[in-house]
Structure formats: C-alpha cells, structure tokens
C-alpha cells in the first residue's frame, strides 16, 4: 500500500514533469510545474523528511512559483504574449538530440542504479546496524532546529546572508533602467 502511494506520487511527478517540458504554452507549463512541486513534497514525506516537504511547499509553491507567475504577469504584455506562444500545436516537437541525450542519461543512470542494487556504502550499513536511522516516529523538526543552531550554525548564517544578497541582487537587476 505504501509502495502504491509512493508510485502514485512518483507517476504524478514524472508525468507532470513530462507534460511540463512538452507543452507549448508556457503558462500551462508553469501550473503543471506547481503540481510537480507538490508531488515532490509528497515524495519527501515518503523519505521521512516532513519538514523538508513543508519547506518545499512554502518556499517553492509559495515563493518561487508565485514569484515566477507574478514577475511575468506584472512585467509587460509582449513578454506575456511571447510566453503564451499561441501556436496551434499543443505539444512541442521534441528536439531529438536532447531527447537522445536525456534518454542516454536515463539509461546510464538506470544501469548504474541496477548495478548498484542496494550495495549500501559502509556508513549506511554501519548506521543501519547501529539503528541510527530516522524513523517515522522521530521528531524531525526538533532535531533540525537543534542542528541548525549548533552544528550547522555557520552554514546557516552564510546561507542567510547569501539569500539576502541574492534578493537584493535580483531586485537591483530587475529594476527599470534609468531613462537617461
């Protein structure tokens, strides 16, 4: 049952992702992307990362995606028209070279995954043996908070400043040019 739900999510994610890349209309793609992100959040939960799933929804769906949609919608009409790309075809013709490349990569990765076949690295087998694995009953949020404020404090701060810098940069970049 658990596996079935997982696969449902996985199918949702992959199917929507495929649609995202094959649709002509960018606006539709963007909404489908929304579904992909939700699906991903679901998959995170299956990996016992509930906080990550919530963050995913909040940051991506609530931030990134809204940012994207709003950014375009609020900018100018031509770009919007360009994005909507009123082509008669519903699906874009796949670019065979890139398709080949992607399938190639998929094949190689699948091959790798099959070859690997749960030959866990030593640290994983060690943790499994010692029982140091996350269980569904664990309070992840609590643990994460502690870790952020202790062990990962420096990266946390760095990433905060980085985020700030990125936002300021983004704001600077997207400002209107001076008329002069």
């Amino acid at each position: 049952m658990e596996l079935a739900i997982f696969y449902a999510f996985a199918a949702l994610v992959i199917g929507s992702a495929l649609l995202v890349v094959s649709l002509k209309n960018t606006a539709r793609s963007l909404f489908l992307f929304f579904i992909v992100l939700f699906g991903m959040a679901g998959l995170f939960i299956f990996a016992l990362a509930d906080f990550v799933a919530i963050t995913q929804i909040m940051v991506y769906v609530g931030g990134v995606l809204i940012l994207m949609i709003f950014a375009f919608m609020l900018s100018n009409k031509e770009l919007l028209a360009d994005l909507q790309n009123t082509s008669s075809k519903f699906l874009s013709i796949p670019n065979w070279q890139s398709l080949l490349l992607s399938i190639g990569f998929l094949a190689v990765m699948s091959y790798g995954i099959i070859e690997w076949h749960d030959n866990f690295p030593q640290w994983i087998t060690e943790n499994i043996r010692q029982g140091n694995i996350i269980k569904s009953s664990d309070n992840n949020i609590n643990q994460l908070g502690i870790k952020f404020m202790t062990q990962y404090l420096l990266p946390f701060e760095v990433i905060s400043i980085f985020l700030l810098a990125a936002l300021i940069g983004a704001a600077h970049l997207s400002r209107k040019e001076d008329p002069k």
Binding site: Q97, S98, L101, G104, F105, V108, Y111
Partner: protein, 667 residues
C-alpha cells in the same frame, strides 16, 4: 669643236650606252609628264651618231680596245667593269643603234595616244641601255647583268598592255623561259670562273688568253660549259625546246616586237655564241648545229599555217635564228653575225610594215565597230590598192628573207648555206642532213613569206564593210620603213650582189674556217635556191591569189603546224602542271608532314602535360587536398560547435560526459 670630236672610242661607247640610261632615268622621274618620247628619241639619235662616228669608224678592222675599272674584290679575285671594243662588239652595237633609231621614230606615231605612253618610252630607253651595254661588255659577269636586264625590259614591254590577260601571260612565260637560259649562262660563268679564274673576255680569249695558255681541264666540263652557254643563247634566241616564248611575246606593241623580238634582243644569243665561240668543242658545236637546224625546220613548218601576221613573222624570226645558230655550229660565226645584221634590217622592216597594216586594220575595226582580230591575215587581202608603198617595202623585205638575189638576205643566207655544205663535205655522211634541211627550210621560207604577201596584199579585202578608208601610214612611220628598206638591199653590205665574200662584215672578221672551200657550190647553190623559191612563189600565187587551194582544213599536218606542234600544250602538261602539282604536294607535305610532325610532337608533349597535370591535380594534389579538406571539415565541425548557443554548449558538455560515463562503464 675639235675637242668634241676628240672623243676616244671608249668614252664614246660609254656615252652610247649611258645616254639611253640617262633618258630612262629622266623619264622615270618625270613620269606622266613626259609623253612625247623626245627624250628617248634624242638619246638614241645621239647614241647612233656616237656609235657610228666615234666607235665604229674608229675600231672597225682595228686592234681591239678594252678598258676596265675594278668593281669589287672577293677573296683574291677582283671583278671589273669594263668595255671591250672589237669588230664583233662595235658591229653589234651599231646594228642595235641603227635598228633602234627608226623604231623610235616609228613608235612616235604608232603609239600616239596610248594612255601608258610615258612608260613605253621609259621601257624602250631601258631596253636600249641594256642591249647596248650587253654588246660592249668586257666580261661575262657584266654581260650577264645586261643580258638579264634585256630580258627584264622585254618583260616590261611584252606586258606593256598589262590589263590584257594574254599579254601578262606572255611576258611571264617569256621571262621564265629566259630565266632558264639565264641559269645556263650563270652556270657557264661559274664553270669558266672555276676553270680559269677570270671572267674577262680579253683575258680569256684574247691573244695569249688564259683559254689558250692554261691546259683545259676535263673535256667533260668544257662540254658542260659550252652547253650551259648554249642554253643561255637558246633561251634568248628562241631555239627549239625553248622557243615557245617568242610567238607569245607578240602580245607586245608591234614596234617593240620589231626591235626586241626580231632584230636585236633575240640576236643576243647568237652574239653570245660568237663571243664565247672559242670555248665550244666539237661535241658542243655539233649540238648547236643540230639544235639550230631543228629550230629552223620546225619553225618554218609552223609558220606555214599561222594566221596571225605577227606570229608568222615570229616563227620566221625563230627560223632565221636557227640559221644563225647553225652557222655558229658549223664554225662560221662570222656568217652568223652577217646574217644577224642583214636579218635585223629586213625583219625589222617586216614587223614595222606589219605594224602599219595592223594599225590600219585596227582603225578599220574601230571605225566600223567590227569584232575582228586586226592581226589575222584571213581578214586582209588586196591591201596593195590602199598601201602601195608598204606593199613595195614589205616585198623587198620578203625577198630578202627568202634570199632572193640583189637583197642583203641573199648574201648572208648563201654564206650560211654554203658554209654548212662545206662543213658537211668535210665530215661527210649524215652531216649532210643539216645543210640539206637548211636548203629545204629556205624554200619553205620563200613559200610562207609568199603566202603572207599574197594573202595580205593581193586579192580582195576579206571583210565586207561599206566605207573602207585604209590609207598609207604617215611619214613618221613610213620614213623609218623606207630607211630599213634601203638597208635590205645588197649595196649596204657589199658592192658585189652575188659573192658574199666581199661583204664588209665578213672581211672585217676574216676568220679561217676549219673546212675547205668548194667553189662550185658558190654558183650552184644560189641558182638552185632562187629557182626553187620562184617555184614556191608560183605555187603560192596559185593557191592563195588564184584561190586554188588544194588542202582542206582537216589536214593533220596543217593542224600540227597551226598549233605549233602542240609544244605549248606539252610543256604545260609536263613541266608547268607537274611543277605546280609538285609544289602543291610539297606544301601539303610541309603542312601535314613536316609541320604535322612538329605539331604532333607538340600534341604529344601537351597530352603528356595534360596527363601529368591530371596526376598532379587529382593524385598528388588530391592527397594534399584530402588532408587539408579533412582538417578543414574537422575544424569546421569544431567551429560549428562554437555557435554561441548556451544550450548547445551544455548539450555537448553532457554528451561528452555521457560518452565518458559509457566509456567508463564499458571499460
């Protein structure tokens, strides 16, 4: 005045030669402005006077005089220009002058109104210069020069009416055939030069000349030399195989024919033979006699049936020249010169008379707009009525030609015939053929000239026109003719009308014959000749005047005679055609074989070059190009990667990564 009269013979003879040359130069410069011919006339009058008074009178029967100036030096030999005055040369010079003078006077009215008259006088002066120069040349080279100049002048005069196709053909033929003779002459000169190292006549044949002092080289070469000179004389004097140009040469003005092709130039051959006579050995002399005999016979035969008045006279000239040549051949070259002198006068007169007749006939033709040949004797007849003086003069000349007593021709012809008989008597046997043939020819001569006279002057005018205004020629034409008529009588040459020995020409030369004199011949032969000539005339009278012509026109013999023995056709076919074909063939050979070979080589080389170029381009260069092309395409491929599209870069990067991974997996 005494100074003027003190001209030495050498200077005098130089003046004789140079005056016509001066006239030629002046007329050449003046061109169309000098049409009267007075310049030429004055020059020839002066020449004649000088020749007679200062040269002939001084030198005749005296010691020979010669003067030379060096002309140029080749190697160790110096070639000279010079004048040789002896009996032979001064006589010849005088004859030329005396014949040329009346012809000049005659031409003044005969050629009046011709558009090219200025050229006529120019050419005539040139001819006189060359002919007079020929007579007094002291060496063979100089003689050769004038010899050819004479031919050249004759070429110009034959082709005087250059728009007439037949005249142009005739002058070409005349010059080319004369060229053959010139070659003989030139080779003869070369031969003499290589044997004796000198060309001076005095040095060669004078007293104690090289010819007598040096041992003759091989007899064969001597014969060769003699034959060469004889070929030269043959062409000029129209002897048998080379006689064909003379009848054609009648295309020129009649006055020219009388001067050049009857009296003077054609006699130059005989003059040459006389000049180099010592050179001839027995073989050559016999050849000369035989050729002369053949010539005399066949041309008399051809003369019988000709209808063109000038052609009849032309053949008679050839025939008489044959007589002279026989005389040289039998060793009696003095007789030849004698006949040359007498013949010059009466033949010139015959031509001038014929010219007068043709002149009148041409007027008649123009006045009545007839389409006739004014020279055809079949159109004439009964002219005695209108032109009695011409008739008389022409008759005198004809009698002289036939050798009738009391004429000059009688004397000279007898001299030749009797000498020939005496010569034959010396040698016996078949040699008698020659004098007998000559006798026959004499009778034939009487017959054909009788035919001419009868057809032209007796009977009725053959062409029927309403108004006939034929009249005597005017005085400037008649005067010269009368002068020549007088000269055709025995008195001019000898006080004795019967015995030729007393003529001043023969006494002047006084050569000794290699054969004995036979006295009885001197009486018998003239009688036989005269009687047979008379018989021939009676027959002619019956045939042509009485109209009892016994032969029909289809007669084979007559046909051959009419067509001059088909010799022209024969030459045309054998020599001219074959030479032309040979030349065409050779040109083909040149174009296709010689040049073809060159071009073939060029083609081979070019093809080789093409082949190697092909190899170079496609094999050698192809290899290089392939390498270069590969590099280029690889470069191009790489360049194509750098197309500035980020996605492509990314794609390539991933492709490489993918390939790398696959490589790792496979490895």
């Amino acid at each position: 005045m005494s100074d003027l009269l003190n001209i030495s013979p050498i200077i005098g003879s130089m003046l004789v030669v140079l005056l016509p040359f001066l006239a030629f130069l002046i007329q050449a410069i003046l061109g169309k402005r000098s049409q009267s011919g007075n310049i030429a006339l004055v020059s020839i009058i002066l020449s004649t006077i000088f020749s007679l008074i200062f040269v002939f009178a001084e030198v005749w029967k005296q010691e020979p005089i010669s003067a030379n100036v060096s002309w140029f030096t080749i190697g160790t030999h110096t070639f000279t220009l010079g004048i040789l005055l002896n009996n032979l040369t001064v006589l010849m010079q005088l004859i030329v002058c005396i014949i040329a003078l009346p012809v000049h006077i005659y031409s003044k009215s005969y050629m009046k109104g011709d558009p090219g008259i200025h050229r006529y006088w120019m050419y005539l002066s040139l001819f006189c210069f060359a002919m007079l120069g020929l007579t007094i040349s002291s060496n063979l080279l100089m003689m050769y020069i004038f010899w050819e100049l004479v031919g050249f002048a004759s070429y110009l005069l034959i082709g005087f009416w250059f728009t007439k196709e037949s005249a142009v053909q005739a002058n070409k033929k005349a010059f080319i055939i004369n060229r053959i003779g010139d070659l003989g002459f030139l080779l003869g000169i070369a031969s003499v030069y290589s044997m004796y190292g000198s060309l001076n006549l005095v040095e060669l044949f004078g007293k104690d000349g090289l010819f007598y002092s040096l041992p003759a080289s091989s007899d064969g070469w001597l014969t060769f030399t003699g034959i060469c000179f004889f070929i030269g004389a043959m062409a000029k004097s129209a002897q048998f195989p080379l006689h064909v140009w003379l009848p054609d040469a009648m295309e020129g003005p009649t006055a020219v024919s009388s001067l050049i092709h009857a009296a003077t130039m054609v006699a130059a051959g005989v003059f040459l033979l006389s000049t180099v006579f010592p050179l001839f050995n027995q073989t050559v002399l016999l050849t000369i006699a035989i050729i002369g005999c053949i010539t005399a016979l066949i041309s008399a035969y051809f003369a019988i049936s000709q209808t063109d008045i000038k052609k009849i006279l032309a053949f008679s000239t050839i025939s008489q020249l044959g007589f002279m040549v026989v005389a040289v051949g039998v060793g009696a070259w003095d007789a030849a010169m004698f006949h040359l002198a007498t013949h010059a006068f009466f033949k010139c007169l015959l031509f001038l008379s014929a010219g007068a007749i043709i002149h009148e006939m041409a007027h008649l033709k123009e006045a009545n707009k007839l389409d006739i040949d004014p020279q055809d004797i079949n159109n004439m007849g009964g002219l005695k009525k209108w032109m009695p003086k011409t008739f008389i003069l022409m008759s005198i000349a004809s009698l002289a030609l036939a050798g009738f007593p009391l004429t000059s021709g009688f004397l000279s012809k007898d001299a030749i015939l009797i000498s020939a008989f005496e010569w034959a008597a010396q040698l016996n046997g078949l040699y008698f053929l020659i004098p007998i043939t000559l006798t026959l020819v004499s009778i034939l001569t009487a017959f054909y000239i009788g035919r001419l006279i009868f057809k032209v002057f007796f009977g009725e005018l053959k062409i029927k026109v309403e108004r006939i205004h034929l009249h005597e020629a005017n005085l400037s034409m008649l005067g010269p003719m009368i002068f020549l008529g007088i000269c055709s009588i025995f008195l001019v040459f000898s006080w004795n009308p019967i015995a030729y020995h007393h003529s001043f020409i023969l006494t002047g030369f006084s050569i000794t014959y290699p054969f004995a004199e036979i006295h009885s011949l001197h009486i018998i032969l003239p009688i036989i000749l005269t009687i047979s000539s008379a018989i021939a005339w009676v027959i002619g009278w019956n045939w042509y005047v009485k109209g009892k012509y016994p032969l029909n026109s289809g007669n084979k013999l007559l046909d051959i005679s009419m067509n001059q023995g088909y010799i022209n056709e024969f030459y045309n076919k054998i020599f001219v055609k074959s030479t032309l074909n040979l030349s065409k063939g050779l040109y083909w050979f040149d174009q296709n074989i010689v040049d073809g070979f060159v071009n073939f080589l060029a083609t081979i080389v070019r093809n080789l070059a093409h082949f190697s170029a092909w190899i170079d381009r496609y094999i050698v260069d192809g290899l290089v190009n392939t390498i270069a092309g590969t590099a280029y395409y690889i470069g191009h491929l790489l360049r194509w990667v750098q197309n500035g599209r980020l996605q492509n870069y990314l794609g390539f990067a991933f492709t490489v990564v993918l390939i790398g991974i696959i490589y790792l997996i496979i490895k």
